[in-house]
């Protein structure tokens, strides 16, 4: 053993703190690595359209989110929900936009109202899918896969976002999920989309127990990866490991760039209330990635649970909507400040609506049709799709008259500007052309 001094080997890929980000893209032997490097941008990509999907997991109670304040519809609503209905006085007026003059927003949604009054909130009525299923599992599968039978897409990726990414956004960060775990929506994407818990969690940790020796260890690891020969599975893995480290560095750099900007909005964070502060951190991370110049087309996040309000719906529902409203308000502030609001569309979805009548536990059971909310600088505000009628409320379930796949299609084609042909292969009993964008 000689005592030569340590000389770092090739480490071209991996300079600590390098701004370039690359994300794993590893296929079976065929090298599907799709590295990208770009300068650290302290601004969003110019003229880059993006979609931010916010999923309210559990089935949001749409009928208490946008509710009638007058007439026969209100009478039906009050009769159906004698202990749970919102009074007209409680709600926020929707008279400031077209189509919902006799309706009000849940009082927690003051930012929604402001966006509505600015003409940039579209409320899509009675969205759903055929042969409604009351199972969370099945319904989530349907929304995530973009197919009535989420498993019956022979030869295609199962997730609708995965199919979109494979067709139109195949870069390493083309589609990104934050804080939502492994969603079916991404299943089958060939570019290993970046699915992270948070920016902070996607980081190679230091080891202060071993301090300086740990730094030496990391150097040896990186030099070993650089020395790994290509041409077999181990070589592919080495590339994946290098890319992961570069991606983590790139994401961390984006976070740092955003923080250094100093203009970021104040997002709601966790408090003693278990249903607040959950969405804000994820939207803040997305804002940081947008500000960092990521080429992402679809960001996916949401409130992972809580909306399944079978009992004691209030005040839980108010807390959930407060979290949603406050987080979106901060996000919008950020996007306006970084001049990205006009290129960004926010789509709020949930797997189904809730039953028209309240149950015996001051809550609501699983239902069918529901609202989608769409907002952004390019959005044509107002009611889209169909309004709910008294007859709808007198039935057990709200019907659907707009297929959720037509909402997805509209986002992809008329906002992102990419054809959705073939991405939703099943036939639909109902089709509708939307004009939100």
């Amino acid at each position: 053993m000689t005592n030569q001094s340590y000389s770092p080997a090739r480490r071209n890929f991996l300079r600590a703190g390098a701004a370039g980000a690359g994300v794993v893209a590893l296929g079976a032997y065929g090298n599907r690595h799709l590295p990208f490097s770009r300068p650290a941008l302290a601004a969003p990509l110019a003229n880059h359209k993006r979609l931010v999907v916010i999923n309210l997991v559990g089935g949001n109670d749409g009928l208490n989110t946008v509710f009638p304040d007058s007439g026969a519809v209100q009478s039906a609503y009050l009769a159906r929900r004698p202990g749970l209905a919102m009074s007209a006085a409680q709600g926020l007026s929707l008279a400031g936009g077209p189509g919902l003059a006799g309706w009000r927003l849940h009082p927690a949604l003051d930012s929604f109202q402001a966006i509505w009054n600015a003409g940039q909130l579209a409320i899509v009525g009675k969205v759903g899918y055929p042969n409604e299923n009351l199972s969370h599992f099945v319904s989530e599968d349907i929304w995530s896969s973009g197919a009535r039978n989420g498993v019956a897409l022979a030869g295609m990726a199962r997730g609708w976002i995965a199919r979109y990414a494979n067709a139109w956004a195949g870069t390493a960060t083309g589609v990104v999920s934050v804080g939502m775990g492994r969603k079916l929506d991404f299943e089958g994407a060939t570019n290993y989309p970046l699915l992270i818990a948070s920016l902070a969690a996607f980081n190679l940790k230091n080891d202060s127990t071993y301090g300086n020796n740990h730094i030496l260890r990391v150097s040896v690891v990186q030099d070993n990866l650089a020395d790994q020969p290509a041409g077999n599975l181990a070589g592919e893995i080495a590339v994946a490991q290098q890319s992961a480290q570069a991606a983590a560095a790139g994401v961390q750099a984006a976070g740092a760039t955003y923080t250094a900007w100093g203009m970021g909005a104040t997002y709601p964070t966790a408090s003693t209330n278990p249903f607040t502060g959950r969405l804000g951190p994820s939207l803040r991370d997305i804002a940081a990635m947008i500000y960092g110049g990521f080429d992402t087309r679809i960001y996916y996040t949401g409130l992972p649970g809580g909306f399944d309000t079978h009992s004691a719906q209030e005040p839980m529902h108010t807390q959930l909507l407060t979290d949603l409203d406050d987080a979106i308000a901060a996000f919008r502030t950020d996007l306006l400040a970084m001049n990205a609001w006009n290129d960004t569309v926010i789509l709020v979805v949930t797997e189904f609506g809730r039953r028209n009548y309240q149950n015996g536990s001051a809550g609501t059971d699983h239902g069918h049709g529901n609202y989608c909310f769409v907002m952004g600088g390019a959005v044509t505000g107002g009611l889209h799709g169909d309004a709910i009628t008294a007859a709808d409320i007198n039935a057990e379930y709200l019907p659907y008259t707009t297929d959720y796949r037509d909402v997805y299609r509209h986002m992809l084609e008329d906002h992102l500007g990419h054809s959705a042909a073939g991405l939703f292969p099943e036939s639909q009993p109902i089709t509708r052309t939307l004009s939100i964008l």
């Binding site: 969690a201 071993y210 040896v220 592919e236 893995i237 649970g305």
Partner: protein
Amino acid sequence: MVPRRCSTAFIAPALFVFIFVCSACGGSDGSGGGSSPPADPGGDLSPMTSLSDADKAHFLNRTHFGIRPTELASLNAMGLEAYVDWMLSMPVDATLEATAKSTHITDADYPGGNELMYWWLHLMFHSQNPFQENLALFWHDHFAASQDALVGDNNWWMYAHVELWRKQTTGKLRDLLYKMATDWLMLVWLNGVESTATAPNENFAREFWELFTLGADNGYSQADIVQGARTFTGYRSVFVPNYFGAGRDSRVVQWDFSRHDNGSKTIFGQTLNGNGAAEYQDLVDLTLAARGTQVASYLCRKLWEYWGYRDPGASLVNDLAQGFIASGFDLKLLYKRILMSKEFFSARAKAGLVKNVLHHHVGYLRTTRCFINMQRIDFSLRGCAQEPTRPPSVNGWPKHNAWLSSQGLIERANFLRDCNFYKTDPGQTGYDAGSLIPSGQTGDAQVVDHLCWLLNVRLETAQRDRCILYLNQDRNTTSVVSQPWDFSNATQRDKKIRGLLYILGQHPTYQLR
């Protein structure tokens, strides 16, 4: 919230998952495709007669969790066939089983969700027959059901569910399928207890064929699913006050004939007469009789991909399947045939399979014995998206290259770091990484070579030189300095061997088994 079948249940606002599966791209392949399978080369399924050192390392890495020298010694002493027979005899280690429960479960009637996981992890870490847990993981992934379907007062159902995979998968397939179909967690997980004659639920019937026995769109129709859903009716979940006494409530699954559709059904073109609860077994038997070749091929392929290699040729699968059918679907004989076959020891098999996270974490802990607190291990498993007892969906976990997501790889590195960082955890009291090194083999190159053998890491020459150099250096605040390797210096030895474990554990070949 009700349990989710798809997506991770968000139980704590912690690190979550980052990896996804690509089941649309060719069966259990998680890679997203990209390569075409080679032309069908067949495969020699005749048994091996003698093993090289490399064969032995391959066998242990695939069927155990990493390598322990004691396991190699047993394999050497017994020979392959006797060792395989011993593994498959599933000897019960009553002491370990009792310790696992008493260590991690506070109230046996009401085990906590995490406690159940710790209980099983304890068994994986300390089992004398790690193959038992390796095999159990295969079935837990195949018949994937999550404890998240339980609601607290019935968490104890998970014991029987885990024990099914740990102890009852070496008999006949028909028995296993029946036990699975009537397992209480499964009946809740796939809505069996809600499925009644008036409102049959198709969930279990669909997955029974699509995921559990035949594969998607492989020999069944929607009409069969509708009829199968009628068959799988009649169980219900019942709340039982004071079930445990002392006012301690629980719930049980009971058969209720009034909920069962006892009319005759037509499935696979054959008539299944009303037969009450016995119809569960009748439909298992009808599936094996009418679709036996498909079932055998589907399971043989999946088992081969778990232990052997990806994309086995049709003739190899067919050969295995025919033997499986001829044996009356005897699982033990099938395992033995696979694990003793020359093809299992072929160069193609040895080329490597990507470790899932449990293979990685459990293997690292078993090999290094560098244990940290269970909560930390669980935190990492959750971050890497593979907590045992909590598969993300009925489709199980991702497979193969799908484990190589960016955040997953970062998490693996961070887990190795945690094992060093938390060196004061009770599990490491008195721990000396130097104890991994046999006496008389304490030179720098010998240490590197021994740890490479232990971890089944294959270094390039330059990498090996760099690792040896690492043992002869340290780093101060500004630069790397010379510090000749001295095994007799306990502090230096522990620091550098831990460092070497961190380095070797991130070698690309350590991601393979």
